[in-house]
């Protein structure tokens, strides 16, 4: 039996690490969904960020010899990948008014294939990138970015700036916002693109922070857990972060209890976020109400 206090410490540290990608992706989802665009594509955007960050960090380190700067190059590339995917998603959903859930599912399916397709070509592997040396990883920066920078910043932007007010207005009552002179489409493009940036960082953390390479389907549903946390946090930044910590805790617990607690099957611990989300969405514990115009393409009146 391990010492309890050590175990608690290990568990807390592990919770912080497992929550970081969730917080980043969920905050991204927050900007997109508060503007009225559903984002089930978070999973795909995280995969894009994770793969690109790992591939570029490796290339910058091994091929270009950028050394300590290589994870930064990787992070920027991960952001760019999330942004590119978000741009495609935004054009399809906003410009062409496609069904947001369908296009989101398409982005996710696409990103199940792209990393394998590219790594097969560039690294002659079946879906993973080569190892990055330990000293060229980025274990702390994304954690600090997530909790210290982006959570307070998101709150401030959302509730204390004209941008945030317009974003929320567009997600609740686009006609009214439009009548008041706010460009609905521009706000929605901003929301979706911000989601791409944040989900890209979240994905990058998985491959060049928590791990040291990209592996096939590395996100393993974290984009959906982030979405669940967003719903659980009632589409508000601080509550969403708390939900991410709770869901991150269940993941940390399921990792840490392997070999320690044998009576509870790990599958049941892993299921907790999903079950909680269904319960909250049904309104059994408080009510979680989505933005009113969520998922409805905006058609300007002629």
């Amino acid at each position: 039996m391990k010492d309890i206090s050590t175990w608690v410490l290990v568990l807390s540290m592990s919770t912080i690490r497992t929550s970081t990608p969730l917080v980043l992706a969920a905050l991204g989802g927050l900007f997109s969904e508060r503007s009225g665009v559903i984002n089930i594509a978070l999973e795909g955007k995280m995969l894009a960020g994770a793969f690109t960050a790992a591939a570029v960090t490796y290339a910058a380190d091994a091929k270009l010899g950028l050394g300590a700067a290589s994870p930064w190059a990787g992070l920027l590339a991960g952001i760019a990948a999330g942004l590119l995917l978000a741009a495609i998603y935004a054009v399809v959903c906003i410009r062409y008014k496609a069904d947001q859930v369908v296009s989101g599912a398409a982005i996710n399916i696409l990103m199940l294939g792209i990393p394998g397709f590219l790594s097969g070509a560039f690294f002659l592997s079946s879906g993973s990138t080569p190892q990055i040396p330990k000293e060229h990883l980025m274990p702390w920066t994304p954690i600090i970015l997530a909790f210290v920078v982006f959570v307070p910043l998101s709150w401030w932007v959302m509730y204390r700036t004209p941008f945030g007010l317009r974003l929320r207005a567009v997600g609740e009552k686009p006609e009214a916002a439009d009548a008041a002179g706010v460009s609905v489409n521009r706000m929605r493009y901003s929301g979706v693109l911000l989601a791409g940036v944040l989900a890209g960082i979240g994905g990058a953390y998985l491959s060049i922070g928590q791990s040291s390479l990209f592996t096939r389907n590395m996100t393993a549903g974290r984009g959906f857990i982030a979405l669940a946390a967003l719903i659980f946090g009632k589409w508000r930044p601080v509550q969403t972060m708390l939900a991410c910590l709770l869901f991150g805790f269940t993941e940390a617990l399921s990792i840490q209890m392997q070999g320690v607690i044998k009576d509870i099957p790990v599958q049941f611990v892993q299921m907790v976020p999903y079950v909680l989300t269904i319960i909250v969405l049904a309104g059994f514990i408080g009510s979680s109400r989505p933005p009113r115009a969520l998922g409805i393409p905006y058609q300007k009146e002629k």
């Binding site: 559903i38 089930i40 495609i88 054009v91 399809v92 062409y96 008014k97 496609a98 069904d99 859930v101 369908v102 296009s103 599912a105 398409a106 982005i107 996710n108 399916i109 696409l110 990103m111 199940l112 294939g113 792209i114 990393p115 394998g116 397709f117 590219l118 097969g120 070509a121 560039f122 079946s126 879906g127 549903g221 959906f224 979405l227 669940a228 719903i231 099957p265 599958q267 049941f268 892993q270 299921m271 999903y274 079950v275 989300t277 269904i278 969405l281 049904a282 309104g283 989505p290 393409p297």
Partner: protein, 355 residues
Amino acid sequence: MKLLRELIFPLIAVVAAFIVGGILILTIGDNPIEAYRLLLGSALSWPDGIGYTLFHATPLIFTGLAVLVGFRCGLFNIGAEGQLYIAAFATAWVGITFARLPALLLVPLCFLAAILIGALWAAIPGVLKARFGSHEVINTIMLNFIAVGLVSYFTQYHYKVPGDPILQTATIGPGAHIARFGQFIPGFPVRIPLNVAFILALLCCGLVYVFLWRTKWGYEIRTTGSNPTAAEYGGISIRKQIVLAMAVSGALAGMVGINEVMGYRYRYYDGFSDNYGFTGIAVALLGRNHPVGVILAALLFAALQHGGIYVDGFSEHVTKDIVQVLQGIIILFVAAEAFFRGPFNKYGLLKHSKV
């Protein structure tokens, strides 16, 4: 003329996706024509190409129909993946528990398990939507993960043969096996797992057509999907239609278990689904939410899936991941139909999928 109009947009979407995919292949320094020859060229060879294409098409027809029934009621069932997992496990459970029963009893029992459990699992988000108004998309996504966790738990802790390193159950009784095509088509090898579940899938296409377009229930489901306000005004209980449509959708997804467990592996194998539930979305959309379209789209994706193996084996750089890439692009193009429709018909937007 109507048929032509129905065919033209899916065809444009497929061709456009192949062009974009071709550009991607070019950028990684390979020859797209060679890759596409490998990808599609093997699908028509006898017996392997045709056999495997039809075998891979079977689950896709089921999940495509499942997504179709949901769409027609205005629901998006992203949960076919979870429904087919839990149903396949239930099928195997019946096949193992009642292994001694004769085929005459065991086959219908296993069928019933697949259909019923799939329907029940899908009815959960239906009830949640009808009763609490919670969005079926989120709930079906969550239930996918719950289903996968549950069956993995039961397999690992209760139904695995002790000492087996693979996460799979014991085998089902011989009475639960259904015939492979090789058993009654001379010259067709039994090793190809194409089985009578394929015929069942075709049968289901007919049944879904009759159900949706020739029965009162189907009429009510379609009315709910195309115009809920009018449906309610006309005395249709929308809540009942939502639950009914989800249950039918889940039953169809559940039948994947029949193909997998009773016709192919004769056991439950954890993680067997090659994203069938999600590919079903592509199949239904590309098939324009019509049973005949579903068959055609399922055949296309099945051929690609089979060809993926050849691409992996013989192409220099391209891997079978190209199949998933093409699938994603096809759905994007189908979803953003306005992109092509713009020059054709500016005002027909958004009316396409829900009538």
